[in-house]
C-alpha cells in the first residue's frame, strides 16, 4: 500500500468529521466572542449534533469498511450513533441553563462534550481493537474533565480524580487484553480475530483467554458492571448533573456498543464461555445495583445505583448471545437513554445553585408547586421501574423474553424479582412528590425552585416523556430498526 492509493473514504466517518469540526469551531468561537450566555457556542454544538444525526440517518443501510478496515459503517454503528447523538442533543438542552447557573466554562464544556461524542461514534464504528481503544480514550478523557469541572463544589474534583484514576487502570487493563489478543492471533482486526477464535478456543490458548478476560474487565468498567462499579456512585454524585445524565446514558451505551461488537459478535465462537461469565455478572449487577439503591438518600446516587442495575438488565439480554438478545439490548439502551435523561432533567430543574436540593426529601410536595415537572418525573420513574404502558416495560419485556427463549429462565426470574425490588425506590420518589405535604419552611416555600432553568429543560422533558409513552404503546417501529441494525451481521449470530 503506497501513499498514492490511500484507502481514504471520508464518507464513512462523516458524522465524526462533522462533530470534530463543530468542536473546533466551538472552541474557536468561545475565544473570539464573549457574551455572558455563550448561546452561539451552544447553538453551534446543537446544530453540529443535528447535522451529524442527519448524516447518520442518511447513511442508514450502507455497509462499508474504510481506512484499511479500521472502521466499519453498518446499521449497528448507525443505530448506536443515533442513540449517542440523541443523548448528546438532549444533554445539550439540559445543559444550556445549568451551565450558566453553576458558572461552568461554557465553551470548553460544549467542546469537550462534542469531542467525547466523536469518540463514541468511533467506538460504534470500530472494526479493529486499535479503533476501539482510541475511541474509548477520546470518549473518556473529556468526560474525566467534565466531571471535575464544577470547581465550586469540593465533590466534583474528587469525583473527577477518582474517575480518572480508576478509568486509567481500566484502560490499561483493556490495553493489556488487546496486547494479549494480538500476541495470540497476530492481528487486531476484528474480522481476523473472529476467524482465529475457534482455533484458539479448541486449543484453549491461555494468551487468548487471558486477553478476552482483560477486555471484559475494561469494558465492564465502562458500563459499570458490578465488580467494576466502584467509581460509579461517587463520579455520578460529584459530577455536574447534566454531565451525570450524559455519563449514565451515552458513555454506558458506548461501552455496550464495543461490548456487543467485540465480545458478542466477534467472539461469538466462544459464546459458551462468555455467556457463563455474563450470567454471573448480570446477576450480581442487578442484585447489588437494586438493593443498594434502596437505601440511598441522594437522588443522584440512587440513580447511579439504578444505572448499574440497568446495565445488568442489558447484560441479561446479551447473555443469550442470540440475535434476539442483541436486538433486545439495543431496544433497551434506546429506551433507557430517554428515561434516564428525563429523570436527570427533572433533577436539574428542581435543584438549586451549587447542586443543592438533590436529596429525595427535597422533592417533598413538588407536585403542588410544579405539577408538570412532577408528572414528567412520574412518567420517568414508572418507566425506570418497568411499569406498563411506559417504554421501560417494553425494554424489560424484550430483554427477559429473549432470555427465556434462549433457556435462561433462572436469569429472567432473578431479573423480574429485582425489577420488583427496584419499584420500591422509584415509587418512593412518587410518594414523596405527591403524597407528602411540603414543609412550610423558608427553604421549601415559594423559593426559586425551577426558576433558574430555561426552555431547553422543559422541551427535552416533554420530548423524553412523550417518546416514552409513545414507545410504550407502539414499540413496533423501534423493534423494526433494531432488527435492521443487526441484519448485515446475521451470519455472526
Amino acid at each position: 500500500m503506497g501513499i498514492d492509493n490511500l484507502p481514504v473514504a471520508l464518507s464513512v466517518i462523516r458524522p465524526e468529521l462533522i462533530l470534530a469540526g463543530t468542536a473546533l469551531v466551538c472552541i474557536a468561537l468561545d475565544l473570539l466572542y464573549k457574551p455572558a450566555d455563550k448561546m452561539p457556542c451552544w447553538a453551534i454544538a446543537f446544530f453540529g449534533c443535528l447535522a451529524a444525526l442527519a448524516a447518520t440517518i442518511a447513511a442508514w443501510g450502507t455497509e462499508q469498511e474504510a481506512f484499511s478496515q479500521l472502521v466499519r459503517m453498518d446499521n449497528l454503528s448507525n443505530f448506536f450513533a443515533v442513540v449517542f447523538l440523541m443523548a448528546g442533543m438532549i444533554t445539550l438542552c439540559l445543559s444550556a441553563s445549568y451551565v450558566q447557573r453553576e458558572g461552568l466554562m461554557a465553551g470548553e464544556y460544549y467542546t469537550l462534550l462534542l469531542i467525547s461524542m466523536t469518540g463514541m461514534l468511533f467506538m460504534a464504528q470500530a472494526n479493529d481493537l486499535m479503533t476501539v481503544y482510541l475511541g474509548i480514550e477520546i470518549m473518556s478523557i473529556p468526560v474525566y474533565v467534565l466531571v471535575a469541572m464544577m470547581q465550586k463544589s469540593p465533590k466534583s474534583p474528587e469525583a473527577g480524580l477518582k474517575y480518572l484514576l480508576l478509568g486509567g487502570f481500566a484502560s490499561a487493563i483493556l490495553l493489556f487484553g488487546i496486547a494479549f489478543l494480538y500476541g495470540a492471533v497476530g492481528t487486531t482486526q476484528l474480522a481476523d480475530i473472529l476467524r482465529h477464535a475457534p482455533r484458539a478456543m479448541r486449543a484453549s490458548d491461555p494468551l487468548f483467554l487471558a486477553g478476552v478476560g482483560f477486555l471484559l474487565v475494561g469494558m465492564g468498567f465502562k458500563v459499570s458492571l458490578v465488580p467494576f462499579h466502584m467509581w460509579t456512585p461517587d463520579a455520578y454524585e460529584g459530577a455536574p448533573t447534566s454531565v451525570t445524565a450524559f455519563m449514565s446514558v451515552a458513555v454506558k451505551a458506548a461501552g455496550f456498543s464495543i461490548l456487543i461488537r467485540v465480545i458478542v459478535l466477534t467472539l461469538h465462537p466462544m459464546a459458551a464461555t462468555w455467556s457463563q461469565i455474563f450470567w454471573w455478572l448480570a446477576v450480581v449487577t442487578m442484585v447489588l445495583g437494586n438493593v443498594v439503591a434502596l437505601v440511598q438518600e441522594n437522588i443522584k446516587r440512587m440513580l447511579a445505583y439504578s444505572s448499574i442495575a440497568h446495565a445488568g438488565y442489558v447484560l441479561v439480554a446479551l447473555t443469550t448471545g442470540s440475535q434476539l438478545g442483541v436486538q433486545a439490548a439495543l431496544i433497551y439502551l434506546f429506551i433507557y437513554s430517554l428515561m434516564n435523561l428525563g429523570a436527570f432533567g427533572v433533577i436539574i430543574a428542581m435543584s438549586r445553585e451549587g447542586d443543592q436540593g438533590v436529596h429525595i426529601e427535597d422533592f417533598t410536595g413538588i407536585a403542588r408547586e410544579h405539577p408538570m415537572y412532577a408528572l414528567a418525573m412520574a412518567v420517568f420513574m414508572f418507566s425506570l421501574a418497568g411499569v406498563p404502558p411506559t417504554a421501560g416495560f417494553i425494554g424489560k419485556f424484550y430483554a427477559f423474553s429473549a432470555a427465556i427463549k434462549a433457556g435462561y429462565i433462572g436469569l429472567a426470574v432473578i431479573g423480574v424479582l429485582m425489577s420488583a425490588v427496584s419499584a420500591y425506590f422509584y415509587l418512593r420518589v412518587l410518594v414523596v412528590m405527591y403524597m407528602k405535604e411540603p414543609e412550610a419552611g423558608p427553604e421549601y416555600g415559594a423559593g426559586p425552585w425551577g426558576a433558574t432553568v430555561g426552555a431547553g429543560v422543559s422541551v427535552s422533558l416533554w420530548v423524553c416523556a412523550l417518546s416514552i409513552l409513545v414507545l410504550g404503546i407502539w414499540p413496533g417501529w423501534l423493534n423494526h430498526f433494531a432488527h435492521q441494525a443487526l441484519q448485515g451481521l446475521g451470519c455472526l449470530l
Partner: protein, 169 residues
C-alpha cells in the same frame, strides 16, 4: 546466542526494576527505578530490531515524561512522615498473592504453548521509513484520532487549572 543472553539480562532487569517501582517507599526511588525499567524495555526493543521504538522509549518516556514526574515529586516535597509507615495489610497480601498466582499461571501455561518458529523479518523492519509509511497509510486514521485525543487533553488541562473567573483580576 549472545542476543539471548542480552535479552535475559535486560528482561530480568526490567522485572526487578518494576518490582522496585511498586515496593519502594520513597517515590523518588520509585521514579528512578521506573527509569531503569523503561531503559531495560528500550534495550529489549533494540534487540528485537525495533530501533525507532527503542529510541522513542528513551527519549519520550525515560527522558521527557520521567523528568515531569520527578518535577512533580520534588514540588510535592514529601517528608518521611507524610509517606507513612510501611504496612502489611490483609488486602495487600491478598492482592500480591492473586497477582503472583495469575502471573505464574500464565507463565507456566504460556511457556508450554508458545514457541512459534521465528520468521524472517523484512530487512526494513523497524526503520523510521517503514514506521512512517505504516503510520501514514495503514494506520492513518488512528494517527489522526490521536490528534483529537491530544486536543481534548489540552483543553482539559486548561479547564482544570484555570482559576475561577474574577479570582486573578
Amino acid at each position: 546466542m549472545i542476543q539471548a543472553i542480552f535479552f535475559y539480562v535486560f528482561a530480568a532487569s526490567a522485572v526487578v526494576m518494576a518490582l522496585a517501582v511498586v515496593s519502594a517507599r520513597n517515590p523518588i526511588y520509585s521514579a528512578m527505578a521506573l527509569i531503569g525499567c523503561l531503559l531495560s524495555v528500550a534495550s529489549i526493543f533494540a534487540l528485537q530490531s525495533a530501533h525507532l521504538m527503542a529510541l522513542l522509549q528513551v527519549m519520550v518516556y525515560a527522558g521527557a515524561i520521567m523528568v515531569l514526574i520527578l518535577f512533580v515529586l520534588m514540588l510535592l516535597n514529601l517528608s518521611p512522615q507524610e509517606l507513612g509507615e510501611r504496612r502489611v495489610t490483609v488486602r495487600r497480601v491478598t492482592g500480591a498473592y492473586l497477582i503472583g498466582a495469575i502471573v505464574t499461571l500464565l507463565m507456566v501455561r504460556l511457556t508450554k504453548h508458545l514457541w512459534a518458529p521465528a520468521s524472517a523479518l523484512d530487512p526494513n523492519f523497524g526503520t523510521i521509513e517503514e514506521v512512517g509509511m505504516i503510520l501514514y497509510t495503514k494506520y492513518l486514521l488512528p494517527f489522526e484520532m490521536v490528534s483529537l485525543l491530544l486536543l481534548a487533553a489540552i483543553i482539559g488541562a486548561v479547564v482544570l487549572t484555570r482559576k475561577e473567573k474574577g479570582d486573578g483580576q
